[in-house]
C-alpha cells in the first residue's frame, strides 16, 4: 500500500511539502519483502474453546485437577491388571495384610513395609512372599485391585448419571425457554415441585423399591438430578434467544430445531460443561453415601463407597483399609471441584486478559 500511495502522490505532484520540509525520493527506503511478510502474518483467529483452554492452563489448581483426573481414570482402567490378583479372589490365610510395596518398603517411616500398627511384620508372620501394594482386606482380597475396580464402578455411575442429566436437562431447559409462554409455565411448575423434594430422600425411597444395582442407583440419582441442569440451560437460552444473531437466523428461515441445536445450545456450552463437572463429584458422593447407609451395590462388586464403608469395620486395628480408599475418593472429589472452578473462570470472557 505504502508503495502505491507514494508512487501515486509523486506522479501527481512530484514533490510533497510537509511542514515546509521537502520529501524527496532519496528519503524513502525500500521496505522490501520483510514488510510484506509481516503484513500477511496475522495472528490465528481464536475460538471460544481455544481461549478457554489457554486460560485454563494458566490456572494451576484446575490444571492439577485435570492431570489428577486423567491419572485416576488411567489407573481405574488399567490398575486392576497391574498385578495378578483378582478383585474377588479370597484367601483367608492372607487376610488383613498391611500394604507393602517393593523399593518403598526400605523406607520404614512411610509405612509401606508390611508392618502393622503394633509393629509386627505381618508378611513374615503369615509367610506371605507376594507384595500387596495397598494391603488386603478382611477376606484376603487385594485392596489395590479392589480399589481401582471400585473407582471404575464409581466413575462409571457418575459419568452415566452426568450424561443422562445432561441430555434430559438440556432438552427440557431449552424447550421450556425457547417456546416460552404456557409451555414454559407448566414446565417450570413441574420443576418447582421437584426442587422442593429433597434429592436424597427420593434416591433412598427409589432404591428401596428398585433394589440396589448400578443401573437403579444411577436412575435414582437422575430422577431429580437433571433439574439443576434444566434450570441453568433455561436461563441461558432465555438470555440468548432475544439477541440479534438469533433474530437474524430466524429471518433467514432457520427452523426451530436448527436454531436450538445450532445456535442456542452451542452458545450455552460453558455453563453446561461446568454444571456437568459439578454433577460428577456429587454423583460419586451420593453413591458412596448410599453404600454407607446400607443401600449400596451388593458384593462381590464393590464401589469406592463400599470399600470406604468396609474400612470402618476394622479402623482401629487395620487403618490401611480406610486410608487408601478415603484418600482416593477425596482426590477424585477435589480434582473435579478444582477443574469445575477453573472451568467456570476460564469460560468467563470477563476473565480474559
Amino acid at each position: 500500500m505504502v508503495w502505491l500511495i507514494r508512487e501515486f502522490v509523486f506522479q501527481e505532484v512530484g514533490v510533497v511539502k510537509v511542514n515546509e520540509f521537502e520529501l524527496t525520493d532519496d528519503l524513502f527506503e525500500e521496505s522490501g519483502k520483510e514488510f510484506e511478510e509481516k503484513k500477511i502474518m496475522n495472528r490465528p483467529s481464536s475460538t471460544f474453546l481455544k481461549d478457554s483452554w489457554i486460560r485454563l492452563r494458566k490456572n494451576k489448581g484446575a490444571f492439577t485437577g485435570l492431570i489428577l483426573i486423567i491419572l485416576i481414570m488411567f489407573l481405574a482402567a488399567f490398575g486392576p491388571y497391574m498385578n495378578s490378583h483378582g478383585f474377588d479372589e479370597q484367601d483367608l490365610t492372607r487376610a488383613n495384610l498391611p500394604p507393602k510395596v517393593p523399593v518403598l518398603e526400605n523406607l520404614p517411616f512411610i509405612g509401606l513395609n508390611g508392618v502393622d500398627i503394633r509393629g509386627t511384620d505381618q508378611y513374615a508372620a503369615k509367610e506371605v512372599t507376594e507384595y500387596y501394594w495397598f494391603g488386603t482386606d478382611d477376606l484376603g482380597r487385594d485392596l489395590w485391585t479392589r480399589i481401582w475396580q471400585g473407582t471404575r464402578i464409581s466413575l462409571y455411575i457418575a459419568f452415566l448419571a452426568a450424561t443422562l442429566d445432561l441430555v434430559i436437562g438440556v432438552a427440557y431447559g431449552s424447550i421450556s425457554a425457547y417456546y416460552g409462554g404456557r409451555i414454559d409455565n407448566i414446565m417450570q411448575r413441574i420443576i418447582e415441585v421437584l426442587m422442593g423434594i429433597p434429592n436424597l430422600i427420593v434416591v433412598i425411597l427409589l432404591i428401596l423399591i428398585l433394589k440396589p444395582g448400578i443401573l437403579s442407583i444411577t436412575l435414582a440419582m437422575v430422577i431429580t438430578g437433571w433439574v439443576s441442569m434444566a434450570r441453568i440451560v433455561r436461563g441461558q437460552v432465555l438470555k440468548l434467544k432475544g439477541q440479534e444473531f438469533v433474530l437474524a437466523s430466524r429471518t433467514l428461515g432457520a427452523k426451530d430445531k436448527n436454531l436450538i441445536w445450532g445456535h442456542l445450545i452451542p452458545n450455552s456450552l460453558g455453563p453446561i460443561i461446568i454444571t456437568t463437572m459439578f454433577t460428577i463429584p456429587t454423583a460419586i458422593f451420593t453413591e458412596a453415601f448410599l453404600s454407607f447407609i446400607g443401600l449400596g451395590l451388593q458384593p462381590p462388586i464393590a464401589s469406592l463407597g463400599m470399600i470406604v464403608n468396609d474400612g470402618f469395620k476394622m479402623l482401629k486395628i487395620y487403618p490401611h483399609m480406610l486410608m487408601f480408599s478415603s484418600v482416593i475418593i477425596s482426590l477424585i472429589m477435589i480434582s473435579f471441584n478444582l477443574l469445575g472452578d477453573g472451568l467456570r473462570d476460564s469460560f468467563d470472557p470477563k476473565m480474559k486478559k
Partner: protein, 312 residues
C-alpha cells in the same frame, strides 16, 4: 406480599402431598405385612386386618393415611413392638437437633470469618490458604472426614472420645465432621460477596468521607454482603440432614439419623417412611422460609410472581 406467601405455601403443601402419596404407595408395594407371624391363624389375621383397617379399599386407606399424617401419626414400628413412629422421632430428634445446630452455628461463624479475611487480603497468602481450606471442605466427603478424625484424633492421639453421646466432649468430633461443609460453603460465599460489595462506589465514598476502615467494612461492607446468605441456607440444611445420617452412624450418636440407617438395615418400613416424611417436611419448611425471607429482602422476587432464586 400476601399473595406471594400464599403461593409459596401452596407449593409447599402440594409438594408434601406428592411425597406422602409416594411413600404410601411405596409401602403398598413393599413385601411383608405387620402380621406375618406363622403362629397366627388366618381368622386371627383377618381380625387384625379388620382392626387396623388393612382390608379396606386402597382409596379409603390412602385418605386415612393422609388424615393420620396431619395429626402427626406416622404409624407403628415393625421393629419396636407397638411403638409409634412419632414417639421414636420425638425421642431421637433432640440429639440430632443439638448436633445440627452446633455445626451450623460453629460452621457459619468460622466460615464468615474466613471469607471476610480472604476478601480483605485478596490475592495474598491468607486468601489462598482460606480457599484451599474451602475446596477441601467442599470436596472431602463427610464420612471420610469423620473416619479420619475418629482414627487420628480419637484413636491415635486419644484426645477426644470416638463414640456415644455422654457430654459436650462427645459432640466435638461429630460437629467438626458436619461443620466442614458449612465452613467451606460459607467461606467461599462470603469471599465472593465481600469482594463484590467492596468494589462498589459507595464504599469508596465512605472511605473518602474519612470513616474508619473498621466501620466501612463492618457497616457498609459486611451488612450488604450478608443479605444473599439466605440463599445458601437451603443447601446447608440438606447437607446437615444427610450429614447426620452418616456422621451419627460413625460416631454412634443416638440421633434420628442413626435410627434411620438402622431402620434401613432392618427393613423397618414404617420408621423409614415416617422419618422420610419428617425430613421432607423439615426441608420444605426451610425452603419456604428461605423463599419468604428472600422475597422480603429482595422486592424484585415477589413482584415477578414467585420466580425462584438462580442456582441451588
Amino acid at each position: 406480599m400476601k399473595k406471594y406467601i400464599a403461593s409459596r405455601v401452596g407449593y409447599m403443601l402440594f409438594t408434601f402431598l406428592i411425597i406422602a402419596t409416594f411413600t404410601f404407595f411405596l409401602m403398598q408395594t413393599l413385601p411383608g405385612s405387620p402380621f406375618n407371624d406363622e403362629r397366627l391363624s388366618s381368622t386371627q389375621k383377618e381380625v387384625l386386618n379388620e382392626r387396623y383397617g388393612l382390608n379396606e379399599p386402597l382409596s379409603v386407606q390412602y385418605f386415612k393415611y393422609l388424615g393420620n399424617i396431619t395429626k402427626g401419626d406416622f404409624g407403628v414400628s415393625f421393629q419396636f413392638d407397638g411403638r409409634s413412629v412419632s414417639s421414636i422421632i420425638g425421642e431421637r430428634i433432640g440429639v440430632s437437633a443439638i448436633l445440627g445446630a452446633q455445626s451450623l452455628v460453629a460452621g457459619m461463624i468460622i466460615g464468615l470469618f474466613l471469607g471476610i479475611i480472604a476478601a480483605l487480603r485478596h490475592n495474598t497468602f491468607i486468601d489462598y490458604g482460606a480457599m484451599v481450606v474451602a475446596v477441601l471442605g467442599l470436596s472431602i466427603p463427610n464420612f471420610v472426614l469423620a473416619g479420619l478424625l475418629q482414627y487420628w484424633v480419637g484413636v491415635r492421639l486419644g484426645w477426644l472420645p470416638v463414640a456415644f453421646w455422654e457430654g459436650f466432649e462427645y459432640s466435638i468430633l461429630p460437629t467438626i465432621a458436619l461443620a466442614a461443609f458449612v465452613v467451606a460453603t460459607m467461606a467461599r460465599f462470603m469471599r465472593t460477596e465481600m469482594l463484590d460489595v467492596l468494589g462498589n462506589e459507595y464504599i469508596t465514598t465512605a472511605r473518602a468521607k474519612g470513616i474508619k476502615e473498621y466501620t466501612v467494612i463492618m457497616k457498609h461492607g459486611l451488612r450488604n454482603a450478608m443479605i444473599p446468605i439466605i440463599t445458601i441456607l437451603g443447601p446447608l440444611t440438606v447437607s446437615l440432614m444427610t450429614g447426620t445420617l452418616v456422621v451419627e452412624k460413625i460416631f454412634s450418636v443416638p440421633g434420628l439419623g442413626e435410627q434411620f440407617v438402622k431402620s434401613i438395615l432392618t427393613n423397618d418400613y414404617p420408621v423409614i417412611m415416617g422419618v422420610t416424611l419428617f425430613y421432607s417436611l423439615l426441608f420444605i419448611i426451610v425452603i419456604l422460609i428461605v423463599d419468604i425471607l428472600y422475597g422480603v429482602v429482595d422486592p424484585r422476587i415477589r413482584l415477578s410472581g414467585g420466580g425462584r432464586r438462580e442456582g441451588k
